[in-house]
Point group: none
């Protein structure tokens, strides 16, 4: 049997979303309602009740891992998702291209996102990667631009540490911080901070005078001349899905973070050029890619991000509309496969992103399981409150292990 | 938004309480039923399913802390709740005033509660506090009488340990035990046991000849001439509610233990002179104090104890009656505030104290959440079985974090 795990980022909502209904409850979702009728629902706390999840920690927990035991920071997943070959000992960061002005106070941040730069990022990345460090000359680095101003940065060398501060002042008009050891007198952290500070300064020198930025200045756009680095992380030891379940697993995701988490768990990446990681993604193409991957792989994890984007934008119509597109374009493409009888599907969110709050909340998320081994419950529609009446009750994380269980692929604990 | 957490100690019951109904189910609770209709119910395991909670561990868990990680013993909460300024390294105890007779066998216990002494305790406490230790002369102590025979005792000095035995034989007619190190050859525990044994002996000398006890003997009452100490604990590191949520928090509670737990979690104590920590408490006064505190504080924890007392007394009529008073006098005072739309209320118990058993059981407790961000479920009354059908399902502890989540005050874990 095969398994398909679909996570709609930030799927959950609150009754304040749309006149007493959540966006999911308000959306017309005939395919999901059919699956609810043919399967079973429950409420899932991504990490545990009352814990407000990040997307990284929530995904680890849904995939069956304990983030409290192995989460070191977001950077490692960004680097993996960006295609960097992270090795034990590397220190990984999320890094934005930003706009600064060099003053006597230091590098004053003018735009944290360099005007959401859309072109020329790979040339800038190449320039950053030509920099050679002098003071900590054995430390090498690699920067990859991902979407717009976003990127991933990796430092490699002996005896580095993730216990350092970030340089992002999280505000414009203020100088970027110097990177410091999080704990005074930690030699590995001091060495890492020194290397990163030197890299940031030398990168400024090559970025500020780069032809891409000359072009941006002529066009009245802010120069992308600075790196803001955060989320320092080293590579956690995560037992692979293949090792745990003896199963081959693949991921279909537009966002680098989600590919990165999946890669860290031993999944392989299926590239779908039409997947944007946004509201404009091609949901049908992703569904077709997942179905095609299921011919080769035992389990496929398909991630869509638009629900969360609309939640952060506090746009109830966009979130409801995207949920309706998930129902029509994604599940519409999948409904026939569900009928085959050799497939279990799990559908849920990684957390709740209500419209009114515009950020993640700890509220539980509805979850749906459907397939031959799922005991059908009385629910007839897919939504938060219907899930509260669901036959699966309320539980925390562990969605992939449950899916693998329905597929008779769970390892025995004890004997 | 503001949050109000109300815990009725030992609220939960069993169908053996009253002819097939729990005391809560048998009680007439129109206000709670209205709130159930306007909010959502669930079943909560105070610590986790099958674990029979103490009041201290249950409260830590409901407030969002893991008692397995940080619980060291009850004494520290008793000391904090009694108003002692506990410092790291101090060893704290619950200590009863008791009646003993000095014999060749040692101090034979005649009454473990000194006839539930009602007057003169503070004079006796003062006498205990005049004692100076000779053998471990650097160790100081402080005893505070709380209610009746109950009190809190603190030892302060370098290199003390909580790993010592207690002296309470838990029976009359038997000599009090000598305090011993829990593990042979532990020098800190030996030093602590020596100090406490000396204090107990010297305290007997000043208590036995104290005018308060002369008076008691003349009146035919047992002398309060001895200290029974138990629950040795040192000060755990508990991150404060203010540090976790950036919220100011206050507690309204008659019982020292509950004020102590709240103080350990960084809450401030609102004194309500009418709060007795018993069945005779003034519930309206406590509700008014909580409402008034909510003008200043972000979250208020209100504790009532009578439900548990009636459960321990195996008095179903008293428990049902107290629940009806909670509904009428406490919630009656609060109903208008719930309508304001800027308040979330959580109501639950810290454990189940059924009538037939007369002590805590591991059975889950019904929990109610109501407020603008709570998705209304189908429940229409507040009770154990109605909560089993509730939209919140079943979960363990974490009531305060969930309340703070509804108030958009939860910290993000991950990114």
């Amino acid at each position: 049997m095969k398994g398909l795990l679909i996570i709609a980022d930030g799927l959950g909502g609150r009754p304040t979303d749309r006149n007493g209904l959540t966006c999911l409850e308000a959306a017309s979702t005939p395919n999901l309602d059919t699956l609810a009728e043919r399967g079973a629902l429950g409420l899932m706390d991504p990490i545990r009740p009352g814990i407000r999840p990040g997307s990284d920690t929530a995904h680890l927990s849904l995939l069956g891992y304990d983030p409290r035991a192995l989460y070191t920071g977001r950077g490692v997943f960004e680097c993996l998702g960006a295609g960097l070959a992270v090795q034990p000992g590397d220190i990984c960061f999320r890094a934005n291209l930003a706009t600064v002005e060099r003053t006597t106070d230091g590098f004053v941040v003018v735009d944290r996102r360099a005007g959401r730069i859309e072109t020329g990022q790979s040339e800038l990345a190449e320039a950053i990667n030509t920099v050679r460090l002098k003071k900590t000359s054995d430390v090498t680095h690699e920067f990859v631009a991902t979407t717009q101003h976003r990127g991933a940065l990796l430092l490699r060398g002996e005896n580095l540490s993730r216990y350092i501060t970030e340089n992002d002042p999280h505000d414009v008009g203020r100088p970027a911080h110097r990177i410091e050891p999080a704990k005074r007198g930690d030699p590995a952290a001091l060495r890492t901070a020194d290397a990163l500070n030197e890299l940031i300064e030398r990168a400024y020198d090559v970025l500020d005078r780069h032809p891409v930025n000359d072009g941006r200045r002529s066009a009245g756009e802010p120069a992308a001349n600075f790196l803001l680095a955060r989320g320092a992380a080293d590579c956690p030891h995560i037992e692979s899905v293949t090792s745990i379940y003896g199963a081959r697993a693949a991921v279909v995701a537009g966002g680098a973070l989600y590919r990165g988490v999946a890669l860290a768990c031993g999944m392989e990446v299926i590239r779908v050029p039409e997947a944007t990681g946004g509201l404009d993604t091609d949901l049908g193409a992703k569904a077709r890619a997942a179905l095609s991957a299921l011919e080769t792989y035992d389990v496929v994890f398909l991630h869509v991000k638009g629900t969360d984007n609309a939640g952060h934008d506090q746009d109830a119509a966009a979130k409801t509309g995207f949920i309706e597109r998930i129902d029509r374009e994604l599940f519409g493409t999948l409904m026939q496969a569900v009928d085959r009888g050799d497939l279990h599907v799990a559908f849920t969110g990684d957390h709740t992103t209500p419209i009114d709050y515009g950020d993640h909340t700890p509220d539980p998320v509805p979850v749906l399981f459907v397939g031959p081994n799922v005991a059908v419950d009385e629910t007839k529609a897919f939504g938060e409150r219907e899930a509260g009446r669901g036959g699966l009750g309320r539980f925390s994380g562990q969605v992939l292990p449950m899916l693998m269980g329905y597929n008779n692929r769970a390892p025995k604990y004890g004997s």
